[in-house]
C-alpha cells in the first residue's frame, strides 16, 4: 500500500522527487567571497561591457534565469555558488561584471573550481560579445567538465513526456524531461543517451505534513539530475507502466551545445521548488530558452505549469519535429491480448502460472504465429507481475522457460503497440475550462404535491484538468482529475455559489483476468444540495472504491461502494456521515462521450438520496464542446419527501 500511495503522491505533483542524503551546503564557501579578487582586467573590458549594456541581453538574463530586468530582476536559483556577485540573485549587471572579473582569477591546483570551468556557457557567450576585450584569460584546463562532456556529447535533443500510469489518474498530469542525444543515436543506441530531469530534493525525515506544506510554500529545493535514458525507460515503461512520448526537437547542434554547457553550470545547483508552477516542466522551458534565446516559453506559465501544457507550448513554438511512442509493458500486453480469442487468453494466463503448458496438445494445435503472440504475452505478463510483486522463484522459472521457447523460434517477431493520431497528448484539449450553462430545474414536494419550476444560467471555471466526459483525444480513458473548479448559478431572483470543488478524482480502471486494479473516486468541496425542498450550500468529503469492467470496446461499467461526510445548516450534527453505492456506464463513441450514473446514499440521520444523471458530451473541435445533462434526484427524511430534476445544455471552452 505504501508503494501505491507514494506513486500516487509523487505523480500528483507532476515531478520526480529525489530522496536526498545531501546536507545543506555551506554558504559563502566558494562564491561571493572569491570574486572580489585582485585579478587585473584588460583595460576597457568593463567599460565596453557597460557601454553595450550586455546585462540587458536576453541571453544573459536566460543564463542566470532572471525574471524581469534591472531593478526588478530576480533569479529563482537559491544557491550562492551560482552567482559571482553577492547581489547576483537580483542584479544582472553586478553579476555580469563580477563574472568577467572572476574569469581572471588565478588558477589554483583545483582547476575544476575555477569560474571558467564552472560557468562554461557564460564564458562562451561573453567571449562572443567581447571578442576584442575578453582576452588574456588565464589558461585553465577543466578535467571534470571535459570528462562529463564525453558522457553528454550533445548534438540534438528530444522532449520526453511520460504519460499516465495504470490506475493513477493523478499522474495524467504526466512529467517532462529532456533527452540529449549524440550524433547518430538511432544507429547506435538511444538507450545510452542522457536524460535531464529536474526534481525536488526531499529528506527521508520529512513527514507527509511537512512535505505538503513545504512543497506548496517553497520549502524544497530542486536540482537537475542527468541519468542514462535507459533508466528512465525502465522506470516509466516497466516499473510504472506509463507510456512514453518522445518529441525530437529541431534544436541545432549549436543550440544544443549551448544548453549542455549551461546544464553543467547547474550541476548540484539548488533552485526554489514549487509543485505547481516552478516545477520540472517549467525548468525545462528555461533550458530551452537558453538553447534558443528568442523563445518565449516560461513566461506563458504563471500559476501552474502542467507538463502536458508545456509540451503544447513547445509544440506551438514549432520546436517539435516528430512524435514517437514507447508503449509501457501493460500497454503491450493489452495489445497482444487483443489479438487473441477468449480461450487463447485463458491459456496465456494458465501458461504464465505453469509454463509447462506450452508442451500441451492444447497449445500445440494453435497456429505458429498465434503461438508466438501467446508466448510473448505470457512472458511480458510475468515480467509485469514481477515488477509489481517482486521476484519469486515460480515467476523466474516460468519466465525462463518461456524465454527458452521464444529462443527456439526463428526470427521471432515481437510487434509493439502503436498509437492513433487522436491519442497524442499534445493534441488534447487545453487544461482550463469555462462552461456556460442554460437549464431548467424542477423541485417537487411529493407529500404536498406542489412543484416549483425555475430557469437558470450557470457559469463555471475549472482550473484543471479533465473530466470523464470531456473531449477524450489525448487523454486517458476512465481517468478524471479536476482541481479547483467553481461555479455560480443565477436564477431569476437570486445568484448563488453553486459548487466549489477542491479536488475531484475518479479512476475507472477495468478489471479483467490479467489486471485487477481498483476503481475509485475522491472528491471534496462545497455544493448546493437539495434538503427539505430547498438547495443548501453543503460542504462534503466523498469517496468510493469498487470495480470496473470493459465488456466492449471503449465502454466501461463501474460499481463503487461510497461514503460521504457532509455538513450543512439543516442537519443537527455538525458532520453527518452517509454510506452508499454508485454505479454507471461510461461510453466513448466516435461522436462523443455518454455517461449514465446512479447513486444512492443513506445518512445516519435518516436522510436518504437517490440520484440519476445522464451526460452526453459532443466535441465540436479540440477546445470546444457542447453537453447535455439530465439529472433526477429524490430526497427523503422523517419530515419531507422531495424530488428534483433538471435539464442543462452547456457550452465548454478549453483554454490555457
Amino acid at each position: 500500500m505504501n508503494i501505491n500511495l507514494f506513486r500516487w503522491l509523487r505523480a500528483a505533483i507532476f515531478c520526480p522527487l529525489y530522496l536526498s542524503s545531501f546536507t545543506p551546503y555551506v554558504i559563502a564557501a566558494t562564491s561571493a567571497a572569491t570574486i572580489e579578487n585582485d585579478a587585473v582586467l584588460p583595460a576597457q573590458l568593463i567599460s565596453v561591457a557597460s557601454s553595450k549594456q550586455l546585462w540587458l541581453k536576453q541571453e544573459w538574463l536566460n543564463l542566470l534565469h532572471y525574471k524581469g530586468y534591472d531593478n526588478e530582476a530576480s533569479s529563482p536559483v537559491d544557491d550562492p555558488r551560482f552567482f559571482n556577485a553577492s547581489s547576483g540573485k537580483t542584479n544582472p549587471q553586478q553579476e555580469l561584471l563580477a563574472s568577467l572579473q572572476a574569469f581572471y582569477q588565478n588558477v589554483t591546483d583545483e582547476p575544476d573550481t575555477h569560474p571558467q570551468c564552472r560557468f562554461v556557457a557564460r564564458l562562451h557567450w561573453l567571449q562572443k560579445q567581447l571578442p576584442e576585450h575578453l582576452t588574456q584569460l588565464p589558461a585553465v584546463n577543466c578535467p571534470s567538465y571535459i570528462e562529463w562532456r564525453k558522457q553528454v556529447p550533445g548534438h540534438k535533443a528530444s522532449l520526453i513526456f511520460p504519460a499516465y500510469h495504470l490506475n493513477s489518474p493523478s499522474s495524467m498530469f504526466g512529467h517532462t524531461l529532456l533527452r540529449i542525444d549524440p550524433v547518430d543515436d538511432e544507429a547506435n543506441s538511444t538507450w545510452l543517451s542522457m536524460a535531464v530531469n529536474f526534481g525536488a530534493n526531499i529528506q527521508a525525515s520529512d513527514n507527509s505534513l511537512s512535505f505538503a506544506i513545504k512543497g506548496l510554500a517553497g520549502g524544497y529545493s530542486g536540482t537537475f539530475i542527468v541519468t542514462p535514458y535507459y533508466k528512465k525507460i525502465k522506470e516509466y515503461n516497466r516499473e510504472e507502466n506509463r507510456d512514453i512520448w518522445e518529441y525530437p526537437l529541431n534544436l541545432t547542434p549549436a543550440e544544443t551545445e549551448r544548453m549542455v554547457q549551461h546544464l553543467w553550470e547547474l550541476k548540484d545547483i539548488n533552485f526554489d521548488y514549487y509543485f505547481f508552477d516552478e516545477n520540472c516542466s517549467y525548468r525545462l522551458l528555461e533550458l530551452l530558452e537558453v538553447a534558443r534565446p528568442e523563445l518565449k516559453l516560461s513566461n506563458q506559465f504563471g500559476l501552474t505549469a502542467i507538463p502536458v501544457d508545456t509540451v503544447r507550448s513547445i509544440d506551438n513554438a514549432d520546436l517539435i519535429t516528430d512524435t514517437l511512442y514507447r508503449p509501457s509493458q501493460a500497454t503491450n500486453i493489452n495489445f497482444l491480448l487483443a489479438q487473441l480469442n477468449p480461450s487463447q487468453k485463458n491459456l496465456v494466463l494458465r501458461i504464465s502460472r505453469d509454463a509447462n503448458l506450452i508442451q500441451s496438445a492444447e497449445f500445440k494445435q494453435i497456429t505458429p504465429s498465434t503461438q508466438n503472440t501467446m508466448l510473448d504475452a505470457a512472458y511480458r505478463y510475468l515480467r509485469f507481475q514481477q515488477y509489481d510483486e517482486g521476484r519469486s522463484d515460480a515467476n523466474a522459472k516460468n519466465s525462463f522457460m518461456l524465454l527458452q521457447a521464444i529462443n527456439k523460434v526463428d526470427n521471432f517477431q515481437s510487434p509493439e503497440a502503436g498509437f492513433s493520431e487522436y491519442q497524442k497528448p499534445q493534441k488534447g484539449h487545453l487544461s482550463k475550462r469555462l462552461k456556460i450553462t442554460a437549464g431548467n430545474s424542477n423541485i417537487k414536494n411529493t407529500k404536498a404535491n406542489v412543484d416549483t419550476n425555475r430557469e437558470f444560467a450557470e457559469l463555471q471555471f475549472r482550473m484543471s484538468f479533465h473530466s470523464l466526459e470531456d473531449n477524450i483525444s489525448g487523454f486517458l480513458e476512465g481517468a478524471q482529475i479536476n482541481i479547483g473548479s467553481i461555479s455560480a448559478r443565477a436564477y431569476q431572483d437570486e445568484v448563488q455559489l453553486q459548487q466549489l470543488d477542491f479536488v475531484d478524482i475518479f479512476s475507472i480502471s477495468p478489471k479483467n483476468q490479467f489486471f485487477q486494479p481498483l476503481s475509485w473516486r475522491v472528491y471534496t468541496g462545497l455544493e448546493q444540495q437539495l434538503i427539505n425542498g430547498r438547495e443548501h450550500l453543503t460542504g462534503h468529503v466523498s469517496g468510493g472504491a469498487g470495480v470496473a469492467y470493459e465488456p466492449w470496446s471503449r465502454g466501461y461499467f463501474y460499481v463503487l461502494a461510497t461514503a460521504r461526510l457532509e455538513t450543512n445548516s439543516q442537519f443537527t450534527r455538525l458532520l453527518e456521515p452517509a454510506l452508499g453505492a454508485s454505479g454507471g456506464l461510461l461510453q466513448h463513441f466516435s461522436f462523443g462521450t455518454a455517461q449514465l450514473e446512479l447513486n444512492a446514499e443513506q445518512f445516519l440521520n435518516e436522510e436518504s438520496r437517490q440520484r440519476i444523471k445522464f451526460i452526453q458530451n459532443i466535441p465540436l473541435a479540440r477546445n470546444h464542446a457542447v453537453q447535455l445533462s439530465i439529472n433526477y434526484q429524490r430526497q427523503r427524511n422523517e419530515l419531507n419527501r422531495y424530488e428534483s430534476s433538471d435539464a442543462q445544455l452547456s457550452y465548454h471552452y478549453f483554454f490555457h
Binding site: 571534470s144 538507450w191 527521508a204 542514462p228 516499473e239 521464444i406 475522491v522
Partner: protein
C-alpha cells in the same frame, strides 16, 4: 486557493507514504528475472527516487546497477549488461531489441558487427543463460567465451 486545496488532498492521501526509507536509493534492480541481479527487496522508494549526493546524479559515472558508483567514466559492457540484464535476456532470446544494441555499443561492437552480435547471442542463448539463477557476472563471462569462439566478434572479447 488551488495550492491550498491540493495541499489538503496531499495531506489526505500521503500519510505514512514516507514511513519507509529506501533500501538504497536507486541501488539494484529488485525485480529481475535472474537471481544475480536482484537488489534489496522491497524498493518502496528505491525505484522512484535517486540519491542526489555526488556525481552519480549528473551522468558522471556509469551509474550501472545503481550500487556501483566506483566505475569511472564510460559504459563498460559488463556494467551495462548488469543494468539491463532482464531486458538483455529477452532481446537475446528474440534475437533483436534495444537492450541488445545498447550492450553491444557499450562493449564497443562496431555497427557493422552488431547484427552478428545479435545473431551470436540468440544462437547461444542457452549457453549464456543456462538457468534462471545465473548472475550478471556469469552471463558476462559466458558471453565473452562465446565471442572468443567467433571469428568476427573475437576482437571485442576481453
Amino acid at each position: 486557493m488551488k495550492k491550498l486545496a491540493t495541499g489538503t488532498l496531499l495531506l489526505l492521501v500521503s500519510s505514512s507514504a514516507f514511513a519507509t526509507a529506501p533500501g538504497g536509493g536507486g541501488c539494484g534492480w529488485g525485480n529481475a528475472l535472474f537471481e544475480g541481479q536482484s537488489g534489496p527487496a522491497p524498493h518502496i522508494l528505491g525505484a522512484t527516487t535517486n540519491n542526489t549526493s555526488g556525481n552519480n546524479t549528473f551522468g558522471m559515472t556509469t551509474g550501472t546497477n545503481g550500487c556501483d558508483v566506483s566505475g569511472k567514466l564510460g559504459y563498460s559492457g559488463k556494467s551495462m549488461l548488469a543494468s539491463v540484464m532482464d531486458e538483455f535476456s529477452e532481446d537475446a532470446a528474440k534475437g533483436h531489441g534495444e537492450a541488445l544494441t545498447a550492450v553491444s555499443v557499450a562493449m564497443g561492437v562496431q555497427p557493422a558487427d552488431r547484427a552478428k552480435f545479435a545473431q551470436l547471442t540468440h544462437d547461444n542463448f542457452n549457453t549464456i543463460f543456462p538457468n534462471q539463477d545465473v548472475t550478471a557476472d556469469q552471463v558476462y563471462s559466458s558471453l565473452q567465451q562465446v565471442m572468443k569462439t567467433d571469428a568476427q566478434l573475437s576482437k571485442y572479447a576481453i
